[in-house]
Amino acid sequence: MATVRTLALAAALVVVLGACAATGPGASPTAQTPAAAPTAAEASPTEAPASPTEAPASPTEAPASPTDTAEPTDAASPSAAASPAAEICPREELTLKTVDRLTLSTDIPAYPPWWGGDPEEQYPNEPEGGSGWELSDPYSMEGYESATAYAIAEAMGFAADEVDWVQNSVFEQAFAPGEKPFDFHMAQISIRPERAEAVDFSDPYFDSYQSVLALTPNEITGATSIADMQGYRLGAAANTTSFDLIEDVIQPTTQIMVYPDNATALQALQGDAIDGLVVDIQTAIFMRDAQLEDFDTPDPEATVVAQFDVTSQTDQMGIVLEKDSPLTACVNAAIAQIRADGTLEEIYNQWIVTGQEIPFFEE
């Protein structure tokens, strides 16, 4: 008797679940937002190649034009009338989280060289009482991403004091379904076609290359080719394309180690749990020069063993927006503008240590 009852209830459940599953997979939004600016690297949900090769030249490839100014771009003066991006997307017509203000987001803690400034300091465009950031302060307009964000905001017609920052403490928050707490999110996120099914990506604002960081006494520092790396214990932070590089390109013979974030991965490197940390070259240089260097001894504590060239993996960083956001086109127009007028290159030259002296791995 009990079996009959159970079967009846189970059948009822199946009916209900079936009803759920049957409803609307076709209802998912697929329309591509109209791109006003030339978007060669537009991350189309289905067709985009793994690495958009036609992307407009990003700062890494752009010829170095002599730009004498070393000051961060002063975005305090609203120059809406002069900005072509603001003409394409007049700011009165933008759909924003907060009326007439831009709400931007990045990860907390915010790491150099992407972010700069001092969280303790009160910046003129910062709300009263500080913003409670850690390590760096996006309101400072210092650091590559902060400066780029304010340059984009300016191109869209927003002054520096019309920009608010929200904190993103969990990586997954940025792509969880539902309404986003930000207009756009910038946190060294690589553009991937699969990811573009869940969110909108802007055109790339940075080309990033991977490298291997190691402590100086370790044998791994003598490695010159990708094959040399295979026998060492390698680690990376979760959710990074660095991990994909280890798994797909290096294919080590040892177990790959993955840590929750770069800070923990660095701890593992220091604790000899891994021989080499795979991380993008700019972050590696920051770790080498700021986080691992103790300045007490003349010898460097860590070294960037080598970097991986374009054939191994290139990541293009894009800004994350809500899926099918009407803002995507406007952000792209702004990026195109700051790229064309040299602002992006200026920011690049100011904040990014290229690491050109670091050798490439042989195939």
Binding site: R5, V16, A19, R192, D244, Y259, G271, A273
Partner: protein, 288 residues
Amino acid sequence: MSGVAPTTPPELLGSRRSRLLGRMRPGGVLVATASTIVVFGALAYLVVNSPGWSRVQQTFFNPERFADSFPDIAAALLVNVRMFLTAEILILILALTLAVMRSLPGPVFFPFRLMAVAYIDLFRGVPGILVIFLLGFGIPGLRLPGVTTDAFVWGLVALVLVWSAYVAEVYRAGIEAVHPSQEAAARSLGLSQGQSMRYVVLPQAVRRVIPPLLNDFIGLQKDTALVSFIGVIEVFRRTQIEAGGSFNFTPYLVCGLLFLAMTIPLARFVDWLAARDRRRQFAGTGAR
């Protein structure tokens, strides 16, 4: 071993399932079915017609991502299985030792009791993740020659340390639940203190605590995910990697289902074991 003893009243045999359904008359089945359809149907209607459903469905119930991520996640689950099976064996041994140490009577054994109590207080009191971090990063950092730096090993050791403390308390509860007269009777028959513990107290104690032991075993299974924090790519980390690579949460669903596929059969097994035990106890000595 012929199943139910004829003398046992049927109410006492109530399995978990029949209690879920209550004492229903035949007509009650129809009402229960209808009511189930209405309630779950209403909930489903509400969810499916919410404005964000199509996005949620794409993000959490994407069949393509499900198929893509399933093999990798299932393979990573084997790391957890290997870990919790090894750990459980070590835990059962270590915890029993601790519980017996704690139950030793008399002033001579005071230092042993003290050690057991200190151990249990320490490892039950600190968060498991802390022990995992300390061992996982601390021991390789010592650079001791000949000592492994394998995070899997140190994660496993940390889980054994923490869970033994819990399990020791479960054993102790079982030992204390055996009536003192049992031991007194054993001693009066000429068994030594050790013998009466081994042959009289422990068999009864362990049998009583099998359900809570398996409960802790399920807890341990889920705790293996914590070892991901020191670098081991186990099922949770692999799931996160799959999710982060595609910005899709479906891999979490895969992970959850795989865990349920392990834990639900185990829970039913515990129920069955408990029911069998109850049958045996009520069956009296003659029924065996």
